[in-house]
């Protein structure tokens, strides 16, 4: 089964169908997706600003990494769930959108970078390397957000 057919099958599920055929489900899920985006942005910024020597400089980066983690993970969970629901309802449209694939690749990079590189680094209160990590993190998440918004434009 090709990827295209898998996307086709996703959209044909009763879940995809229900969201597609509802007047308000898609907008409502979209609104929750945006609320979680704000929370994700806040959690990412609190740590990245600190790594850049801005924001809460009175707190160690390691403390902020620990204290933002639950909000980051919570926001990500809501974003992935709502994003998947939105995606299932218009899977075929997404398959043909470059912005969608750019977003997915950037998202994969951002997740790996955040949890495998930036997090462990921040827990050791880095100096200049932390600044570089914050810049990479901001660039990756910005790409995810911008590409995400562009999925809606055709």
């Amino acid at each position: 089964m090709s990827l295209y057919h898998q996307f086709e099958a996703l959209e044909a599920t009763s879940l995809g169908d229900a969201i597609k055929n509802s007047l308000w489900l898609f907008p409502a899920i979209e609104a929750v997706h945006l609320l979680a985006l704000a929370m994700l942005g806040g959690a990412v910024l609190m740590l990245d600003l600190r790594l850049l020597g801005l924001g809460l400089t009175g707190q160690p980066a390691s403390t902020l990494e620990r204290e933002t983690r639950p909000w980051l993970i919570g926001a990500l969970a809501v974003m992935v769930i709502t994003g998947s629901l939105l995606g299932v309802s218009e899977a075929l449209k997404l398959y043909d959108k470059r912005a969608f694939w750019v977003k997915m690749i950037a998202l994969a990079c951002a997740l790996v970078f955040t949890f495998a590189i930036k997090g462990p680094l921040a827990r050791r209160d880095p100096g200049a390397v932390g600044k570089a990590a914050a810049l990479v993190s901001l660039a990756l998440w910005l790409t995810v957000a911008i590409a995400g918004r562009w999925i809606g434009f055709s």
Partner: protein, 192 residues
């Protein structure tokens, strides 16, 4: 053609929509899209950082950071997000003035922003007066109430803002008298 905008709001919106800049934005291929993207990024910066300050005030995040440090070190970023949000939001309104002006969602959004603004004023003018006593510790109920109002109001601004894109309550659709009252659609149609 008159030199300035008419003195009634509906006329002013029509006048705005007829401006070359408004038409150019409305018909642009990419400018509108990029402004909308910047608007979303502005909201993320603005609401994201204000939410972190609110979570601190609620006592559920950053317990080691004094509230004064949140104000001094985080709120400037909130203000930057607000400026980006307002500038891009004004441009988006300028691109589509008549429909936005009559949008039920846009009106609800402005109302929620007014609630949030009053809340900010009350917080800084009254709630924070005795901040020295709780700056590094447990916040008093007043500060928590302010934070909760802020979170709910700004979440409402995001939700109603997103809904502006949907045409359920647009003037060109049949609506109940109540919706007409809220959107001012009939008043608009009565214009010559």
């Amino acid at each position: 053609m008159s030199a300035g905008p008419p003195l009634n709001l509906d006329g002013a919106m029509e006048w705005l929509a007829a401006q070359p800049g408004s038409i150019a934005l409305h018909e642009s291929l990419y400018a509108y899209t990029w402004i909308e993207t910047a608007h979303v990024l502005g909201i993320t910066l603005f609401v994201g950082t204000i939410a972190m300050v609110d979570l601190r005030l609620l006592g559920v995040a950053f317990p080691r950071a004094p509230v004064s440090a949140m104000n001094a070190r985080i709120l400037p970023w909130t203000v930057a997000g607000f400026v980006l949000m307002i500038v891009t939001g004004a441009l988006l309104f300028y691109a589509i003035p008549v429909r936005s002006f009559h949008s039920l969602w846009f009106r609800a959004k402005i109302l929620l922003m007014a609630v949030a603004a009053v809340n900010i004023f009350v917080f800084h003018a009254r709630v924070e007066r005795d901040r020295d006593r709780w700056d590094s510790g447990v916040t008093p109920p007043g500060a928590r109430i302010s934070a909760a109002i802020s979170l709910v109001a700004w979440a409402g601004v995001i939700v109603t803002g997103r809904m502006i894109a949907y045409n359920w309550f647009d003037c060109d659709k049949p609506q109940s008298a109540f919706v007409h009252l809220l959107t001012g659609c009939l008043a608009g149609l009565a214009e010559p």
